[in-house]
């Protein structure tokens, strides 16, 4: 193994990216994403890469992206979950019914402060229980995941229908709808604070990883590479915050807000939206799921089981229980996605989450999750969701006919997997 920390210049033969120890697949995906964005930006005369559209793109992606992180675990363990869209609907229906019918029936007003937490808890428990139940049938009773969740696709869609008698349920609790996107943002100052915290956290993570390697006398990257990484991270994080902050709240909305508080709006006053709470939720989910994947035994067992189920079993890992856990996590994430989706609409509709299972699976697969198991990353899945959403809304902006939109998305899915297979063959990774 070449020594990356060599001060004598031995490392000059390694490429720039190798020295940075960046994942070249990730770079490829970012490159593809950038190409998509620039292409649509040219086709729409610069309307695609405006703060407004980036803001919308971000909040449209959240629901699918949250579920895609869970789908990574499901696919890594060599399973599939076709029921996520339907389970999202059931969780959303439970949350909507809890806040509009059940809790008001117990004497709480719709906008009472305890409604949102209870409704969210109901949704998350529903997701966890349904997910664990499906996982039990798969892990302990041995019915293939494809069949169990294909059944679930029908069952949970119609459980949602039954719960709401097919009606649209709304309006929802005000606190609850804060998680929908544009209806709840952190504002400019809050967003900058969040950005600075994220930059500090990224810097701390890089430094502590380096310290751990030095403590065990492993080779480390040259200092300039560490600094370059930190700089890139800081630019990306703060740039993202800056863009979301540049999307101004319409002056009409601001004027109403000032009126409501009994003051008049100063002349020329503007305010940006900042980071939506739903995006904050996605970031939190991504961080937690990444930590689970990389730093916990659960994550290690998920990847080991995906790589070689027999080896995992013989190493004393309870792979059946692991299946239950993976599907329970997926269920919880469906509930969170349902929360964001219904909050964004500010009501629960009967067709919420329809076809989301396909978008979620496509996002995970485009993000580099191998259906043969054992491989996949959380950030890849989120990036996959973002690429899918960009294609879809970009084509809508350009005015591509609806059938062609779906044809392109379908073709891109197959093409992405093909490119990934070729890439893996070239680099010799299995």
């Amino acid at each position: 193994m070449a020594d990356a920390s060599a001060s004598t210049g031995q490392s000059q033969r390694k490429s720039f990216f190798q020295t940075l120890e960046l994942d070249t697949r990730l770079l490829g995906m970012i490159g593809a994403f950038a190409v998509v964005c620039i292409m649509f930006n040219l086709l729409t005369d610069g309307r695609f890469l405006t703060p407004r559209n980036i803001f919308n793109l971000t909040i449209q992606t959240v629901s699918v992206a949250i579920m895609a992180t869970g789908m990574v675990f499901v696919i890594v363990t060599r399973h599939i979950d076709l029921s996520v869209g339907s389970l999202l609907a059931t969780c959303s229906a439970m949350m909507a019914m809890a806040q509009t019918q059940v809790l008001p029936g117990m004497g709480f007003e719709l906008n009472s402060p305890i409604i949102a937490p209870i409704a969210i808890l109901v949704g998350v428990l529903t997701g966890a229980i349904v997910g664990a139940f499906q996982g039990y049938i798969i892990g302990y009773l041995g019915v293939p995941a494809f069949i169990v969740t294909l059944g679930g696709l029908l069952v949970w869609r119609n459980v949602a229908w039954y719960l709401t008698t097919g009606q649209t349920i709304g309006p929802l609790n005000d606190t609850f709808t804060l998680l929908g996107g544009i209806s709840g943002t952190m504002g400019e100052l809050g967003s900058w604070i969040l950005g600075v915290i994220a930059v500090v956290a990224a810097g701390f993570a890089i430094v502590s990883a380096r310290r751990a390697r030095i403590r065990h006398e492993f080779p480390v990257k040259p200092m300039w590479a560490e600094f370059a990484l930190m700089l890139v991270a800081a630019v990306l994080i703060l740039g993202f915050v800056w863009i979301l902050n540049s999307y101004d709240v319409p002056s009409r909305v601001l004027a109403q807000r000032f009126e409501a508080s009994g003051t008049t709006m100063p002349e020329g006053y503007t305010e940006g939206y900042g980071v939506p709470y739903s995006v904050l939720l996605l970031i939190a989910v991504a961080v937690v799921m990444t930590i689970v994947a990389r730093r916990t035994r659960l994550g290690r067992y998920i990847f080991a089981t995906g790589g070689n189920p027999d080896a995992a079993e013989l190493s004393g890992i309870n792979t059946r229980l692991l299946t239950v856990k993976v599907f329970a996590i997926m269920g919880v994430l469906c509930a969170l996605a349902g929360l964001v989706a219904s909050a964004r609409l500010s009501f629960h509709s009967n067709d919420i989450g329809t076809l989301d299972e396909l978008r979620v699976i496509a996002a995970a697969v485009i993000g580099g999750t191998a259906l043969s198991g054992g491989m996949g990353t959380i950030y890849g899945a989120i990036l996959g969701a973002l690429i899918m959403q960009s294609l879809q809304s970009g084509m809508a902006m350009v005015g591509v006919d609806a059938p062609f939109q779906n044809i392109v998305v379908g073709a891109v899915l197959v093409l992405a997997v093909l490119v990934d297979i070729i890439y893996r063959k070239r680099t010799g990774a299995a």
């Binding site: 492993f218 916990t296 035994r297 290690r300 067992y301 080991a304 070689n308 079993e313 190493s315 004393g316």
Partner: protein
């Protein structure tokens, strides 16, 4: 010579196990003493792997008892086996191909930080230490084990057993996929482990290798134990006769 006067490390008594009406192991009894290597010989399907899987926890015997250090134990799963310091190196090399050597070595028994997170740096450091002893030329610590050669993969499996201080080691055709030099490495390792007082069950097809490495050989045929013989008292032809014809050599037959 192996001292067989004390308590045996392992005693498997009257083990039987059937699969769908076929008796894969039929009332077999076998024992193993500290510092001893017992070879298990037989054709494919003779029942040697099945017998040993009752000890490693992969199968559960239908009838019979297992004693470790004289105490009756119940081995329900691989975790129970590990708790009794029984480690197994499988023919199929039970490694997760997508993980690196350290992750595989510690699979199921990860080192964790005080906060409960897996401590990859510490595990890699321990892995480097143990490989310093077992296979000093090994360098691919960061690569997934799918990128390793057969011998390197085997050394990961063996390192796992050695690191966790196995007292009883089960090796299922450890050299089947290896070249001559790697086979020699494994043979030397077996001698070294034997000196340290481990008991080893070695499942193998190769009669010559069994004669060279083992103290005793147990021969099975059609699920039954033909006999257990001291390898120094039999020729390879005798062993072959036992495997093929299922007959104990005449000079040993009681």
């Amino acid at each position: 010579m192996v001292d067989r006067s004390g308590t045996p490390l392992v005693e498997m008594k009257d083990i039987s196990i059937s699969f769908g009406g076929i008796r894969a192991v039929d009332h077999v009894s076998i024992d193993l003493y500290p510092g001893e290597v017992v070879g298990l010989l037989g054709h494919n399907g003779a029942g040697k792997s099945t017998l040993i899987k009752c000890l490693s926890g992969a199968y559960r015997q239908d009838a019979g008892e297992i004693f470790v250090n004289g105490e009756k134990v119940s081995i329900e799963n691989p975790r129970d086996a590990r708790d009794h310091n029984i480690e197994t190196i499988y023919q199929t090399l039970a490694l997760a191909d997508n993980l690196d050597a350290a992750s595989n070595l510690f699979l199921g028994r990860e080192l964790t930080t005080p906060l409960g997170f897996v401590d990859d740096a510490a595990m890699e450091a321990e892995t480097r230490k143990i490989f310093q002893r077992l296979n000093p030329n090994f360098r691919k610590f960061a690569a997934p084990v799918s990128a390793l050669s057969g011998g390197q993969r085997q050394s990961v499996a063996i390192a796992r057993a050695v690191y966790f201080q196995a007292k009883i080691l089960i090796m299922d055709e450890p050299t089947a996929a290896l070249g001559p030099q790697e086979t020699r490495m494994v043979a030397e390792l077996i001698q070294e482990l034997k000196r340290q007082g481990l008991g080893i069950f070695l499942i193998d097809h190769d009669v010559h290798q069994v004669k060279e490495l083992c103290d005793r050989a147990a021969v099975m045929k059609n699920g039954e134990l033909i006999g257990v013989v001291d390898v120094d008292q039999v020729s390879t032809d005798d062993l072959l006769a036992m495997i093929i014809a299922g007959k104990k050599p005449e000079h040993l037959a009681a």
